[in-house]
Amino acid sequence: MSRTYAPRLSRRLGNAAFLVFACAATAVALIALFAILWALVKQGVEGLNLQVFTQSTPAPGSEGGLLNAILGSIMMSTLGLAGAVFVGVLAGTWLSEYSRNSAYGRVVRFVNDVLLSAPSILIGLFIYGIMVAPMKGFSGYAGAAALGLIAAPVITRTTEDVLRLQPISLREASVALGAPVWRTILQVIWRSAKAGMLTGALLAFARISGETAPLLFTALNNQFLSLDMSKPTANLPVVIFQFALSAYDDWRRLAWAGALLIAAAVLTVTVIARILAREPKRS
């Protein structure tokens, strides 16, 4: 005869309570996400209209949009990302292909991790110290440099990770065919790791396009439309910060519209990066 095993009631209750807690915790996280997205969409859509994209930030009480801020953000993020991709890809390549197990390699890897999670406001202070203070003026270039310095460690990290995943035989095959090492890296390794590296760049872009703190005292803000990045440059995050904390209703409406735009852009890029990352490789 067989007896089915059943744990004692107290243990079953403990287990049930625990399972309920795990589900509740997940529910809390999901509720938070939807509460934030709901508020964003509800308040943001109200402030969203064609003017937002065609006019510059207004004085309180008059009509206007976010054109200068959107343009400034795009310019600074793009320039910062370009620099970060250049440095990050090369640094990641060095870590993966050349550093081997050298002590210096370990130091650089650790330093990169520290930079990766250093508070972004400190990056802003650093760029202020080396670019804004000596040049006696806030500028879009300083903002781009700050954003680049935040993005570079992200790209370095992802580049190293994906390059390490490429099989050794791929490198050997290329070298055996007579290609020098640099050509092997450029045309074989980078090419086969393309999707992963692109994901890294997209994630870095998502991260910097919402950054506010380091721009507060590097790019500052500019009320007018300007393509000159050697002057203070308007950007969405700082405009949102100033407008949201202002006492004017029309400014706050614009802040919500801007927040919606930024969140939508960042989340879209994040989702694209995730999809790209999990897309199966062609065989």
Partner: protein, 321 residues
Amino acid sequence: MTAAQAIDVAAAPPRPVARGAFLDRAFEWLCFGAASLLLTALAGVVISLAIGGWPALAKFGPTFFVSATWDPVAEVYGAAGAVVGTLVTSALALLIALPLALGVAIFLVELCPTVLRRPIGTAVELLAGIPSIVYGMWGLFVFAPWFAKHVQMPVMMAAPPGTVWEKITTGVPNGAGILTASIILAVMILPFIAATLRELLLTVPAQVRESAYGLGSTTFETIRLVSLPYIRTGAVGAVMLGLGRALGETMAVTFIIGNAHGLPTSIFASGSTIASTIANEFAESTGLHSAALIALGLTLFVITFIVLALARALIGRQTHA
């Protein structure tokens, strides 16, 4: 003819190096330079903060870290208020986020139906992608009023006079304050901790877990007695990573902490953190004021550096073990 050719080929010296090999050194140096640039950047951050903050550190000496007076008019600066504010909000945030993150990770690994695993996992990751300024706006305009009405007011009303309870919940019930900031921080770091814990939980070997189940353990017991001890070191590392994020978070906190100098008096009172103080004041500061702010920044760097170094050491040990 053919014989001669064969001899020619054999006689020709083998090409010693691949074509374009002279660029190899150049490319290696280029990569090396990029890697070293990162090192230089970090050194630059430390040095520029040290130089920039020096006037304040030299003037106030050790009292800078002990005094909680922050008075730009009288030019007297002490970091204690902001440092305590930073540590308290981060610790509270961790206290709230950790159980939730553990719950989410366990849900995703153990309980979630396979169909829902990816969507829910992605949703939690999206929480990590929302820019902090959006958290700030949401916290200030949506969460704070709700929190004031449904949590702060009842809790303050219910507090028996003269007890510790009353003492730690005094303040203006406007929704902004230490606890509100901690809650928003908790939501922000939750996805990071949950993601790391989830990955760690997936490293627990199936045999070990199945043995526990085989001995008659419930899910709760398996996780508590087998999985959690297995991932312990890495889990502490994950917590430290979350803590590192909370310590340096700027914009969301600046929106909702209330920005009052000095030591926080209760969990509902306004306060400030290092990052929020810098964000609020640096652009308009001059002279000693900006030096004091940079010295605050250096303090923040040292605190986060210690936390991160510990986290890396612990997580590294777990994954290499």
